[in-house]
Amino acid sequence: MTEPLIRPKRRNPLQRTRNPLGPQGVRSRTAHGLTAAAAEGRFALQVCEDCKTVIYPPRDCCPSCLSVRLPFRDVARGGVLIAETTVQTSTDPYFRERTPWRVGTVKLDAGPLIVAHLHADTQEGRRVRLDLKLDKSGSAVAMALPEKDTPNMADDPHLREMTCDPKFRRVLITDGRSPIGQAMAKAFAEAGASIVFVGIADPWKPFPGLDALRKVAAVEIVPLDLTDTESVTEQAEQNGARIDIVVNTAEHVRAGGIVDRHGMTIVREQIDIRYLGLVRLAQAFGPILRARGADGTNAAAAFVNLLSVHALMNWPAYGSYSAAEAACLSAAQCMRTELRPGGIKVMNVFFGPLETEWFQTVPPPKVAPATLARAVVRGLQQGLEDVFVGDIADDIRARLAVNPKALERELAS
């Protein structure tokens, strides 16, 4: 049985901080089909289009019929753990300092044999569920979990290496002024975060929800203005070393396009708050997050971007908003590479219109702040990189995968 995680003691400030390491992340191009599935929390393997054989390890020719048509499809996760071993020593520095490390061979119901990491609650000879997870190198690995959830399952040390569980971690919600930020603060407090820093800009401007925020025990309100470089730098200097997850809740939503808009002030604000704000956060918090990626139970773990799904395809009715979101998406992709040496995950959470004031005239379905917050927490608990929340986001993604040009035209109406 997994021992429940113990709230970590205060760090000894004279102790050297462990450097983050990662397992080998090199994979063939085809194997990154697993990475794509793991990023979204899917379990997908290659299934031969011609003879339907389910294939593993990933490859370029079907071992039954030599077909080269081997797309990745979702398959059943169940199987049996037929043999296990505990690696006691390794030449790889990452695993060397993490032994003993259990791995085993799982015979999947769907057919193939998969060498997988083993959750402590799995047993040789018993059934397991397989998950695809992103390890600290950012590449996908298979992890066998017990067939049914067990108590404290998320606290298994091997599994916690693959996830960004907020439990006992310190979180920064960058903007607590909005319903999104407030729902996020509440959700993280409920997920067991030990401190939820909530950034507020222009504290001389009152806002609804401040009292409710103050009532949440884990919340600590801090000054943070994403349009002010010095403010962001100062917050990182003061609290950066005890922030493990940054959730960027800053938003700037305005209807209107590019051509049919009078003046630059709205777009400038949008870029300043969304894109430049993100860059400021990245420069201020990125290095300290990266340095603390292996710093114990509450090591730094993740940077979360909340992005309109229209970062992927512009919605002209909210055209300048979409463009600013697209800039943030590109920046986030860059950050992913830059933060990976620290084992820090950059999680992008995509959503359609929200149930918030600036989407007032948009018809449903829309995403409620509490729903978005729960999806963010869940995504971190599972160690995902790309999360789509709500029906519109799923719809846009599905259409984009089939025919982006058609989607471009459809969003114009």
Binding site: D202, P203, W204, K205, P206, P223, D225, T227, D228, T229, E230, S231, G263, T265, I266, E269
Partner: protein, 257 residues
Amino acid sequence: MTVDVLSFARAIAAGQIRVVDLTQTLSPDFPTIVLPPELGQCAPFRMEEVSRYDERGPAWYWNNISLGEHTGTHFDAPIHWISGKDLPNNAVDTIDVAKFVAPAVVIDCSTECAANPDFALTVPFVEAWEARHGKIEPGHWVLLRTDWSKQDFAGYANLRDDGAHTPGPEPAVVKWLVEERDVHGFGTETIGTDLGQGHHFNPPFPAHFYMHGKGRFGLQCLTNLDLLPPKGAVIIAAPLKIKQGSGSPLRVLALLS
């Protein structure tokens, strides 16, 4: 009378003429005016370091700054308001530069404002001031001392559910100052020359409406007015020469004999 500017300069250097800074420091956390979110907003003051004796510039330190014409301690030109839009020489680059130096009277209502953030300056209040200190001469700045600049930023902005609650003049007194006393302009410590709730007046924002409508000027976010005498200070307030500018942040100095 002949006036010797060199003697004037020597007197300042020797401290015989005192220079008082009436300007708030331009910094990112200083409040700006907040308009309804659908409208364009005034840019707050922001600084981006270009280099600081480092790889971006080894021997020098400098910043790029961004701000609005009405950020921090600033000057309002007549072109700023619809009532002054067609007057000649109404922008900061076309105002006669001699007008950037003018005497000032300081009307103290700090006690009243401490008790009531919505204090409105009235004609009777000014007449009572004149009874003590003498008539307001033509061509003077009227500076409203509220001690509002001593507040923390939350109290300074004093935003509530129905907007800002900060002191200012009622319509009648502005009209009277322009028409009966030929004032140079109106200056305040608050964000804006008008009352925080000035949008409810008729006309709305009367300080802007009447002052700029008659080609007079505004000064806002002043500080240290409590160091000035009721009469006798000379104000230097020269805005930046922005092409067709509606105003600008500036250094406001008071000279005292």
